[in-house]
Symmetry: C2
Subunit: 236 residues, 2 copies
């Protein structure tokens, strides 16, 4: 059976990927990265998803990334901005070159266990936000991964041209348990419903014609209404 | 002044690169990786080179690579093979995808400090030995590094088509202090003179018409004579 290492953050997209690849009959090993993210709840979600699907799960310590390239996601003293993504906030929140680091380490691991594929869940909504989710980056990484070892391991990025809402649709059809996923960048017990990732998540469920099963700190309907005008403006 | 992050192992090639880039007038920050290599003497050499050239030096902890993809270079219980490189030994010695991991982390660091370039010393003699030193791999990584961030950072691999002997020639002309470099894969106080890296190093000095300034465990002339016949055979 072909073996695939999946980069599983514990968010919606990689959770969908996990179910998706498993449904395709691959032997799956999930890897998650602990880079000191304050939203460490996503790591617990990743573990819970793997337990539910009976998939082997490896957490790789990546605290070195925090040390060499600190970001607001790992520095507790800085506040996470509220509201939709904007350029300045992205710069604050982006962990520089995080995806290359994660793909590189997942590939090392995949080679050492004789896997055939590495899969990760970059998608179209991320293109404008993060350089390391763009097709240009992904295409170069596909070639680099294939060339890094004589075994010719392959990088799979099946959602590269799908939106988060479209991924949610796929996930709902596959029965993904989204109650075991986490998106909020803040470190609270409940999702804040106000940060950019929360808003993006809620919009994906709306697009997929469904309701987010996780609990939020405040009334989401109200929160979505608050953001409606500016979001509309930015999307047009 | 343009700023460059150099991946400095403490071996001959990256030491030459360090002198070379510094001679070109760039502001240099050297990074070395501690991945639990038993030849940790190379890290001390890297530090000594930086001190000598008055260059900032950062050691990045990469023990995670040892944990996820153990190799004979990091496992003390396994012996380092003697003699020239052969396919089985390479497989034992190669840390899977090590170069991608190091380039990825060096790039994260470079972005976080606003550097313009990342440089590393892959060369032509490594092409046949390590997939992650081939032009195919390097060309893909150049594209990936440029695309990973909107600042458009560049990967420089100036020795990609040069042999180790040719690099040594450049280094000797630049006055590289090769007594502060280390190649031997074994963890001894003196270089063994018998492992594949020692032989390759000695051949580079012979090619460059010079003598290796470091001390060896045994008489090198004799050691080189021993290997001459088989080496000749393999190179022809």
């Amino acid at each position: 059976m072909a073996k695939a290492v999946i980069i599983l953050s514990g968010g919606m997209d990689s959770a969908t990927l996990l179910y998706d690849m498993k449904a395709k009959g691959l032997e799956i090993i999930a890897v998650s990265f602990d880079y000191g993210q304050r939203h460490s709840k996503e790591l617990k979600c990743a573990a819970a998803l793997c337990e539910k699907l009976n998939v082997e799960h490896k957490i790789i310590d990546l605290s070195v990334l925090h040390e060499i390239a600190p970001s607001v996601l790992t520095k507790n003293e800085l506040p996470i901005p509220d509201g939709e993504y904007n350029e300045d906030d992205i710069k604050l929140m982006a962990v520089p070159n995080r995806n290359m680091v994660m793909i590189a380490l997942a590939t090392s691991y995949a080679i050492s266990i004789g896997a055939h594929y590495i899969a990760y869940g970059a998608h179209a909504d991320d293109h404008a936000l993060y350089a390391d989710c763009t097709p240009k980056f992904v295409r170069a990484m596909e070639k680099a991964v294939e060339a890094c070892d004589y075994a010719g391991i392959k990088l799979l990025v099946p959602y590269l041209y799908m939106t988060k809402g479209e991924i949610a649709k796929v996930g709902l059809s596959l029965g993904v348990d989204y109650s075991l996923t986490w998106s909020c960048y803040k470190g609270g017990d409940l999702a804040c419903g106000k940060c950019a990732t929360c808003i993006e998540r809620l919009e994906a469920f709306t697009f997929a014609g469904s309701k987010d099963p996780i609990e939020y700190e405040e009334d989401i309907e109200e929160s979505l209404e608050d953001f409606e005008p500016s979001r509309r403006g930015e999307l047009e």
